[in-house]
């Protein structure tokens, strides 16, 4: 998700060969709700949120840390593992 328009995101996806849909928060509502709106620059600061099936935030990466997906992938694995262990009788 970025604050870029849908056409800008489409071009971005084309250039990078991204096949999954990219979300456009052109009105800056979501970046404000998530508290990552950079008012000076007018965009959303880099951040990654892992949200579980119940809509609860389970992991947050902000700033340059969020460039590297390793920590959120680890958090995903922990979440999956928890699910696997809790569903085991």
């Amino acid at each position: 998700m970025s604050v870029d328009s849908v056409p800008a995101n489409k071009e971005f996806a084309k250039q990078l060969g991204i096949t999954f849909p990219l979300l456009s928060d052109f009105k800056r509502t979501a970046v404000k709700d998530y508290g990552v709106f950079n008012e000076e620059q007018g965009f959303g600061n880099r951040a990654t949120f892992l949200i579980d099936k119940e809509g609860i935030i389970r992991h947050i990466d902000e700033g340059n840390v969020a460039v590297d997906p390793t920590t959120v992938i680890d958090a995903c694995n922990v979440l999956e593992h928890k699910k696997a262990t809790t569903s085991t009788p």
Partner: protein
């Protein structure tokens, strides 16, 4: 009398500093692990609109916010 007033002022000053210290810096999220994620309803590059609540009870979601598609940021 003056001592009590002075003590009150000192306490007020300390509380003010604590309150300032707890303010979230601009652009840094106020959300914490364990908080409910705010819902969103956004258009995507495939022409569809996606709501976070559409995934409730179905899938975990990774929401990655990136900076400006054309700046390489």
């Amino acid at each position: 009398m003056y001592t009590r007033l002075l003590m009150s002022l000192v306490l007020l000053a300390v509380l003010s500093v604590v309150a300032l210290g707890q303010q979230t810096p601009p652009g840094k999220t106020h959300l914490k692990v364990g908080d409910a994620a705010p819902d969103f309803n956004l258009r995507a590059t495939d022409g569809k609109a996606y709501k976070l609540s559409d995934f409730k009870g179905k899938k975990n979601v990774v929401l990655a916010i990136y900076v400006l598609a054309f700046t390489g940021g």
